[in-house]
């Protein structure tokens, strides 16, 4: 087993390189364009060191923990051969990782404000809370459905692009009927649902499934789960906006 310190210097350097562009952009705009000093420089430096350390640990843990877990589960389900349990797992993973996602809760709160502004719901705290809660549930359901659909697609070997094209057509049609106030939030919700922990886990699951089923190519069939997870929330959120 590798010692946790092996190659640490190189990983740290990689992390610094990953973060350099954003530091340069912020420094350039603050000093050259806005021509203002950087407030609380000490805090910025300390924060940046934490970010570098965190990113290094995360990338290291990814290859030791999240990727192997996703793949081990995929292989275990493939060996077990029970479609029901595999799909139940896919749904639970999609639903469970999304329903408590902080970014989603924040966006749902904003969406409730938008709906109240537009007069779709009453401008009361209780009504807005109910609306936001329902929206979170709709998005979580949509991600659960997305992972289930994506897993079925891997099992059957359907080409991804037909399903995505169909999904796009659905989005375009729904846009014509959904209340305009919800459209921007619906389009954004697709990007918000895919968190930093979910992405590696779901990717490893897809690649693991595709490589343990005969006749599937992990490159062509293994990727694509995240694509579903960023498409279905748009449809579900617009549907939610139409129903409420």
């Amino acid at each position: 087993m590798k010692s946790p310190l092996d190659g640490l210097g190189k990983s740290l350097l990689d992390s610094v390189r990953d973060l350099l562009p954003i530091l340069l952009v912020i420094g350039f705009f603050q000093l050259v364009v806005l021509q203002q000093p950087i407030p609380q420089l000490g805090r910025l430096v300390a924060g940046t060191l934490l970010v570098v350390a965190g990113l290094t640990l995360f990338v290291r843990g990814l290859e030791m923990g999240l990727f192997p877990i996703g793949e081990a589960l995929a292989h275990a389900f493939a060996r077990k051969g029970s479609l029901f349990w595999l799909l139940a797992f896919a749904f639970a993973l999609g639903f469970g990782t999304t329903v408590a996602e902080p970014a989603l809760i924040a966006v749902a709160g904003k969406a409730a404000e938008a709906a109240a502004e537009a007069g779709l719901i009453a401008r009361e705290a209780a009504a807005m809370e109910r609306y936001a809660g329902g929206l979170c549930l709709a998005v979580a359901l949509s991600v659960g459905v997305a992972i289930v659909l994506g897993v079925i697609r891997i099992l059957k070997g359907w080409p991804l692009h037909w399903l995505i094209v169909g999904g796009y057509a659905g989005v375009v049609i729904m846009t014509a009927f959904a209340p305009p106030e919800i459209v921007g939030i619906a389009y954004d919700s697709g990007g918000v649902t895919t968190s930093t922990i979910t992405v590696p886990l779901v990717t490893a699951l897809g690649v693991g499934l595709a490589s343990s089923i005969r006749g599937r190519n992990p490159m062509v069939d293994g990727f694509g789960l995240i694509a579903f997870a960023s498409l279905t929330p748009m449809i579900f959120v617009m549907a939610y906006g139409m129903v409420i």
Binding site: V25, L50, V59, R60, F67, V99, A100, T194
Partner: protein, 257 residues
């Protein structure tokens, strides 16, 4: 000492966020699969690294980059700054007066995507799965260019107030056309890269930019026009990743001749 409190708080909230995932995995592992996982200790150690790493990453972002990024988004969209740049006091601003905002959107989108841990993860996986034919840096730069271009166009849309869905539908048409011509093997990865690029780093910074811009441009509503930037950041990487693969194939063909 203050940092220590922040870090323990962040570890606790990261744990709460991943609790549903852990519960799902544990349930299926213990109740359905009922077989020991290989290398369990190493996996647990790796998971601990991921959680601690993500917690530190988030504390650092919230301490350092987010406040500054949000402050800058507000300052850059401030009419006083824009008037100062164009030297036209008291005159209405046209869409072309916001060029610093577009440039900021482009560079912020690009650099935030490069720092995005989820994108790093997918790039590592793509290199392994493709047997090394996909270069992780090439993929990440292609995605980051897409995010940057998308955010820049998205800020232009907020300034001009043109309807979001026309941009999105036009982008779909381009994506469909590219799907027909791009190498088959890249398509799923390209579609995935849109959702991947919008996570921990990009979403808060970009949301702050959109809300700041919609709040200061006359005639825009924060609630209706402030959203939609993320949608651009999801769609444009799909195009650039397919474009990257098309470029690679074209160069390989030319080299053969």
């Amino acid at each position: 000492m203050e940092f220590l409190v922040l870090v323990t708080d962040a570890v606790r909230s990261t744990l709460v966020d991943v609790l549903p995932i852990l519960a799902v995995i544990l349930f299926f592992q213990l109740v359905v699969i009922r077989r020991p996982l290989p290398n369990l200790r190493r996996m647990l150690q790796g998971t601990a690294y991921v959680l601690l790493g993500l917690a530190l990453f988030l504390v650092g972002l919230e301490e350092a980059l987010f406040p500054l990024g949000e402050l800058m988004a507000r300052q850059l969209t401030d009419p006083a700054f824009l008037h100062g740049v164009t030297h036209r006091e008291g005159m209405a601003l046209g869409w072309s007066d916001y060029y610093w905002v577009y440039l900021f959107g482009l560079l912020l989108g690009f650099s935030a995507a490069i720092a995005e841990p989820a994108l790093i993860a997918v790039a590592i996986k793509a290199e392994v799965v493709s047997g090394g034919t996909i270069n992780p840096w090439g993929l990440r730069i292609a995605v980051a260019l897409g995010v940057g271009a998308g955010i820049a166009l998205g800020t232009f849309r907020i300034v001009t107030g043109t309807p979001l869905h026309w941009y999105i539908i036009a982008a779909y048409v381009v994506v469909l056309a590219q799907t027909v011509f791009a190498p088959r093997a890249i398509i799923p990865l390209a579609y995935d890269s849109g959702g991947v690029s919008t996570s921990t780093v990009t979403v808060p910074l970009v949301t702050a930019l959109g809300l700041g811009l919609a709040g200061t441009v006359p005639g825009r509503s924060v609630i209706i026009d402030g959203f939609g930037l993320i949608a651009f950041a999801v769609l444009f990487p799909i195009m650039t990743v397919m474009g990257y693969a098309q470029l690679g194939r074209w160069r390989a063909r030319r080299a053969q001749r």
